[in-house]
Assembly symmetry: C2
DNA sequence: CTCTTGTGCAGGAACGTTCCTTCACCAATA
DNA sequence: TATTGGTGAAGGAACGTTCCTGCACAAGAG
């Protein structure tokens, strides 16, 4: 009926056409076996003329591994796939793809929601789970199925310990990173540092806010935390407006959520404040535009490139049966630029 | 030796443990066959207790399709995978992933370069090729292998016609879109409109610049085109600076390349110009921050969401043997905001 | 003229599923 | 008692590869 009824040409078809056995065809095309050059070339010519292409699935079944790595972002599990909103996810996925390619693996983007354990239908050799939720069922399913898992957070112990092989991890020293930024702002003269964070259970936010609160407590300062309720930059802008219009406004802002730095500077300007004269600013972001804003924005980066490299390498070690590290602890990258530099004069803001 | 030597539990293992045949196990777990509830539950219990998970690859081989769609970005073929740099790619990939998921397909990110035809080793049911180059070998390989291809540009005829099944396409009316933006700028009073484009062979830039030149010629105006040599926002900023510092500077800017609007406004401001008073601005971008800049930026969007929807639907039709459309022609979405609105006064720029 | 060694290739098992066919069994009907 | 019909389950082919084993033949050594 349809033109796609034309059946695909298989190995045996080539064998018949060339008047040899399928072993000979396989050997000729794969460069294996003991074949004289004449036979090899003949078979190759016939295969080419028939337009033969090996069936990838059959090959994978035979070989036993698929050379495919899954990637799943779990932070907002209800949203199907959100990474485009966030520069962090975008760069991370890119970096993972490149790193995987370098090891000869392909990348499959996994649904974060879906019917039950539909993710197990994909032929994967390993999975990288970004921002797993607590007791993540996806992680459990894969480990139970014998598929190695690497996560960018290591809060998976309770699931992992009952599995045959615990999941490996890549993690960051959040506490150190947050303190580095806060110390810097303090040294630059800030006395009322506010942070903007997300109202999620994601490990990154939990630990960062915790570190911030500890840091404030050690200095006897009241914490100023703005929580945004979900993804979307309007929420972030609202939160910033709320902070700056408060009775006792902050003299420094530290954002944990992704926000385009130029846009944030715009918003701050519209609220009648000037960076860095009235307000110091540090953004947690992977946005490559940060150095080009006016003034250039100080950033805290969680190095998607290195995360990806480490994750893929751990995953591949695990898949290929090598005993490698169990995990890798990375440090964030803090870039100081003019937005948080020591201003000529300290804010002459009226204290209430 | 290693702990991963522990062999995976297969269907036959469950069958042996449950004292039944593999047929019974398969039927019990898949809800097929004629089995009494007792047997079904017994088998399920045994399977669960052994931690059985079906092998995805074997299943795919049997079923004949993999439910996997490939995605390849070809614009900068030399760069391994660049989409994070460009909001268009990011949103497009996200949208494709979601659309594919809705049809029950997964997404595989394909290497754009690599040894020969390594992409054929992936078990794909179909491929979406973004921005194919002329006579793209990847498109040819897939079509020859009987894998349906959909592309977001239709300039593939010479490859497609020799294939059994020509590739399907999603395309845009670039000419109409460019003219819409230019007409709008003209109506707003602009007399010297410059565009910023990329020095690539990609269909989108070629056709858009062509439309711009035609439009200028029809009005007897000299075209002002700035070409950027490669990816990276520094190039864009340099190009803008070059245009605005020229002897006879433009009074309107129309960017075809991706650039963060807030950042561009920053740069224009630093060059001593004000949008929209001195300079009107229209950006081709998918950046969600455009409505939030100061002033809000007029944008031309090539609707990654609709592109993805159409592409996946064409692909799935093709895979599942339905005779569907051969292609889909979409229109770009032009959003007029303050950055290109009629200013109170026309630029009082000195003509040379 | 045998015995070895090597070459060129064919046969068939295996990978782990799904599903089509067959078969035994039991009860109800003719 | 023979026939039908339905139920429960087993056997085995098939999906398209790869690769292990082994056969036939020829050439050289003894």
């Amino acid at each position: 009926m349809s033109k796609s009824d034309r059946i695909r040409v298989r190995l045996v078809d080539v064998a018949r056409a060339a008047g040899v056995s399928k072993t000979t065809v396989s050997d000729a095309l794969n460069g294996a076996g003991r074949l004289p050059a004449a036979t090899r070339e003949h078979v190759q010519k016939v295969a080419r003329s028939l337009g033969y292409r090996p069936n990838a699935t059959a090959r994978l079944l035979r070989r036993g591994h698929t050379m495919l790595l899954g990637v799943a972002a779990r932070e907002y599990v209800e949203t199907p796939w959100v990474y485009a909103e966030l520069a962090y996810f975008g760069t991370l996925v890119t970096a993972i793809t490149q790193a995987a390619l370098a090891h000869g693996y392909g990348i499959v983007l996994l649904p974060t929601s879906g019917p039950d354990d539909c993710w197990l239908d994909m032929p994967l050799d390993g999975v990288f789970v970004i921002d797993p939720v607590e007791g993540d069922p996806m992680v459990g399913d894969f480990l139970a199925a014998g598929v190695p898992v690497v996560s960018d957070r290591r809060a998976l112990t309770e699931v992992a310990i009952e599995a045959r092989e615990p999941s490996r991890w890549v993690d960051f020293d959040y506490d150190g990173a947050v303190r580095q930024a806060l110390d810097h702002l303090e040294a630059a003269g800030a006395e009322r540092i506010a942070i903007v964070t997300a109202a999620t259970t994601a490990c990154f936010y939990q630990q960062s806010v915790g570190a911030y609160q500890d840091w404030c407590a050690e200095r006897g300062r009241g914490p100023r935390v703005a929580y945004i309720p979900g993804p979307g930059l309007q929420h972030v802008l609202n939160a910033v407006e709320g902070l700056l219009n408060a009775a006792d406004p902050p003299d420094a802002l530290f954002t944990l959520v992704e926000i385009n730095p130029a846009l944030l500077l715009d918003a701050i300007r519209k609220l009648g404040r000037s960076v860095p004269d009235d307000l110091l600013l540090v953004c947690t972001t992977e946005d490559p535009t940060a150095p080009y804003t006016d003034p250039p924005t100080s950033t805290l980066s969680y190095l998607p490139g290195e995360t990806a490299e480490a994750a893929v390498s751990l995953l591949v070690d695990s898949i290929e049966g090598r005993e490698g590290d169990q995990g890798r602890l990375l440090s964030a990258d803090f870039q100081i630029r003019a937005s948080s530099a020591f201003p000529a004069r300290r804010p002459a803001f009226p204290s209430p």
